[in-house]
């Protein structure tokens, strides 16, 4: 049997979830005997292959039009989609922005932030449009939810191991954490 193909990507994320994935440490060597990472946001290949993968992992919340495209592409190209981390699962800290109007949020970020001089709100038509922040499952169907900020490396390892063993991982006890 060939290796199981796994693709990951991040949306509105802080990269902490991917850090936690790398925190699997040397166990990742063992994992890589069984899986092949086709694409990640921190490798040269960013997009899941057209031929599809078995497992897709998304971290971060959906908060602009590009995120919707990325999430839809991942969903189309994977069999099992994992929402990894509080932002992907619940919307998380990114949704704090929803408490303000988009104009206020953009003005705060691009004009009023303390380090900004002569700021302006980007308006190029090439750029995506910001949206109200939301969880991944409000855009595409999610198969496995893995909350945590970030989920511990042990929990990520557990979930991947369970999937490799052909089981749907059930999060409970030490593996279910929201912080």
């Amino acid at each position: 049997m060939g290796k199981v193909l796994v693709a990951t990507d991040w949306l509105a994320a802080c990269a902490g979830c991917h850090m936690s994935l790398l925190d699997i440490d040397e166990r990742i060597v063992g994992l890589l005997e069984h899986i092949q990472l086709t694409s990640t946001p921190i490798t040269d290949l960013k997009h899941p292959p057209k031929e599809g993968v078995t497992v897709g992992i998304l971290t971060g919340a959906v908060n602009n039009t590009t995120h919707i495209e990325v999430a839809k592409q991942m969903r189309e190209r994977c069999k099992v989609l994992i929402a990894l981390g509080d932002c992907a699962v619940f919307g998380g800290i990114v949704t704090m922005r929803n408490q303000f109007s988009m104009q206020d949020a953009l003005r705060r970020a691009y004009i009023e932030s303390e380090s900004t001089v002569d700021g302006k709100i980007p308006s190029s038509p090439e750029l995506c449009r910001p949206l109200r922040a939301r969880a991944v499952d409000q855009v595409v169907k999610v198969d496995v939810y893995l909350p945590g900020c970030p989920p511990s490396a042990d929990t990520i390892y557990y979930v991947l191991s369970e999937l490799l063993a052909g089981r749907v991982p059930e999060l409970k006890g030490e593996h279910l954490r929201y912080d």
Binding site: G92, V142, K172, R177
Partner: protein, 566 residues
């Protein structure tokens, strides 16, 4: 009492009729999850976490409010029940802001632990993300409406425990908001900062400013040590949470007499206002300046100064322990505490604070519990809620608006006249008891219980050792001042040629001293305190004192030896 036969999860039980399903289950050791339920509060069935399946009932019923009845068959974890609880949790999480990662209660939150218990790994419903205010107008704590689940524990605590009636709720349904008085900022409301609402809040909605992010019970970051509050003579039982030899939070001890969990601002929050510099090494005055020295040299200097004196006396904070007062009385024939004396009536049967609860008339005479023994004032208001009537002779700003009659001492007769018609009156009297009240109250002797509201946290312990109120002597040769960690400076001290000060903190007092001896703080000392009812309460040290700071009584015991007194 009548008994009924019920079955919970197939277990046959015989329980008192009149219990709720939750109480019956708890008695049998059967766990039913709860959220709005709190053992110190009446149940209202607000949150629906304790839903159980009762045979022949059309819908699931909340165990906390549903009474048991003969032949009842209850299932507490059936698939239908578990599905309903998950649904309730999803609804709770979907409203407002329940993101745990930046909440200081994460790990200690009751809502979170229930979600863990029921394996809630995502929420089905879209979140409204409606921005709600964070009320930071209180000095010691904040109310974050975004974290509130509307369980009304705070509202019930404000009503039923502190009886202050500040918190309530306004609007209906999803728009419901906890609000103070007629929706004013918490800090401008009638709130008395007793902090009971904080103590019962199951989520991060009511957050104490000091303890926030300083440690959690999760992962055993905090340790807990029971102690006795030294802020006033009520002597409330407290639970002190501490970490790395620092006090993090003070909570009321639910099991303790006489407070049963209730505290006031002086006990719960004000200890954290202490900012004075510590005295950790003994000092003696040499050539006009205080210099640090060792214990041997300091005690020798103190003993010599006291030996030389023809007249000597000691004045102490009423916060000192029974042990310290015992040692003080051994060394000094003339000793007193600096708080005001409270006369002892020669008539009437002594009562306890528990008598307030069953009283139908309460007379407060020459006392101001609303300012000095606040937990007593809250207990009085609770009694008023149950129909008791209050008569104030003198002044108590906090209680007066709730009194049936407020009179000056000269008109004490008028108040006593009405109170005399009650079946079980209680009289609370204090330092300002005037001749009018003294005379008039005699009429209630034989009927009423009399509670003496002494001043000085351990005035009763001091009195038991023969240390009464300071006699007002104007001049002595040598003076020993046991200031301990009292946040109040002593009143005018007698003139003395030689002064020894035992204190935990640097202050103006230290500047007058010839010898300074370090003393532990309330959290570092151990011993006994006697409250105004005469209840003697032992307590252990919560923290270790800085190196070289001995027990509160130790310097006095050493001086007794040096002065040849046992």
């Amino acid at each position: 009492m009548a008994m009924v036969h019920i079955t919970i999860n197939g277990r046959e039980l015989t329980v008192d009729a009149g219990l709720t399903v939750l109480q019956a289950a708890q008695q049998a050791g059967i766990d039913i999850p709860t959220l709005c339920h709190h053992p110190a509060l009446p149940d209202i069935g607000a949150c629906r976490m304790c839903l159980v399946e009762v045979a022949k009932q059309r819908a699931l019923q909340p165990a906390c409010t549903f009474p048991v009845s003969e032949g009842m068959d209850v299932q507490t974890e059936s698939p239908k029940v578990v599905a309903a609880r998950k649904f309730v949790l999803e609804l709770l999480f979907s409203e407002r802001n329940h993101y745990c990662m930046f909440c200081q209660m994460s790990g200690d939150c009751e809502l979170q632990s229930l979600a863990y218990r029921y394996g809630l790994d995502h929420w089905t419903y879209e979140r409204p993300h409606e921005p709600l205010p964070v009320d930071g107008s209180r000095r010691y704590f904040m109310l974050d409406h975004n974290r509130c689940i509307l369980c009304r524990r705070c509202v019930r605590a404000c009503e039923e425990i502190s009886a202050n009636h500040t918190l309530g709720e306004r609007l209906r349904g999803a728009k419901t908001m906890v609000s103070a008085d007629l929706d004013v900022p918490f800090g401008q409301s009638s709130c008395v900062s007793c902090g009971t609402c904080l103590q019962v809040c199951p989520t991060g909605a009511l957050i104490e400013r000091y303890s926030a992010y300083r440690g959690r019970d999760a992962n055993h970051e905090l340790q807990h040590t029971p102690s006795v509050c030294a802020a006033c003579p009520v002597g409330c039982g407290i639970d002190v949470a501490h970490r790395a030899n620092h006090v993090v939070r003070i909570s009321g001890d639910w099991e303790a007499e006489p407070n049963h969990g209730l505290l006031c601002v002086a006990g719960r929050f004000e200890p954290f206002d202490e900012v004075r510099e510590r005295v950790t090494r003994p000092m003696v005055r040499r050539n006009g300046a205080l210099v640090e020295t060792d214990w041997e040299a300091a005690l020798t200097a103190a003993a010599e100064g006291l030996k030389k004196a023809r007249s000597k006396a000691a004045i102490a904070t009423g916060r000192a322990t029974n042990e310290a007062f015992h040692a003080l009385a051994t060394v000094f024939e003339t000793a007193g505490i600096w708080e005001r004396p409270v006369p002892k009536l020669e008539y009437g049967e002594a009562g306890t604070l528990a008598d307030i609860h069953s009283a139908d008339a309460i007379v407060v005479a020459g006392a101001a519990p609303g300012a000095r023994q606040r937990v007593v004032a809250y207990r009085i208001r609770k009694a008023l809620d149950h129909g008791a009537r209050l008569f104030v002779i003198g002044n108590d700003e906090y209680l007066e608006p709730h009194a049936s009659l407020v009179v000056a001492d000269g008109e004490a007769e008028r108040a006593v006249e009405v109170a005399a018609g009650a079946a079980s009156p209680v009289v609370l009297y204090g330092a300002d008891l005037g001749p009018g009240a003294r005379q008039a109250l005699r009429r209630l002797a034989g009927k009423a219980r009399f509670v003496r509201l002494v001043e000085g946290a351990n005035a009763m312990g001091a009195a038991a050792e023969g240390v009464g109120a300071w006699n007002g002597m104007a001049e002595v040769d040598a003076l020993y001042v046991l200031a301990g960690d009292d946040p109040q400076e002593p009143p005018a001290l007698p003139k003395a040629g030689f002064t020894v000060v035992q204190t935990a903190f640097k202050s103006a007092l230290v500047q007058q001293a010839d010898v300074v001896l370090p003393s532990p703080t309330w959290a570092e000392r151990q011993g006994h305190l006697t409250n105004l009812e005469g209840r003697v309460r032992p307590f252990d040290a919560v923290l270790s004192a800085p190196e070289g700071v001995p027990a509160e009584w130790q310097p006095l015991v050493s001086l007794a030896e040096r002065l040849g007194k046992k």
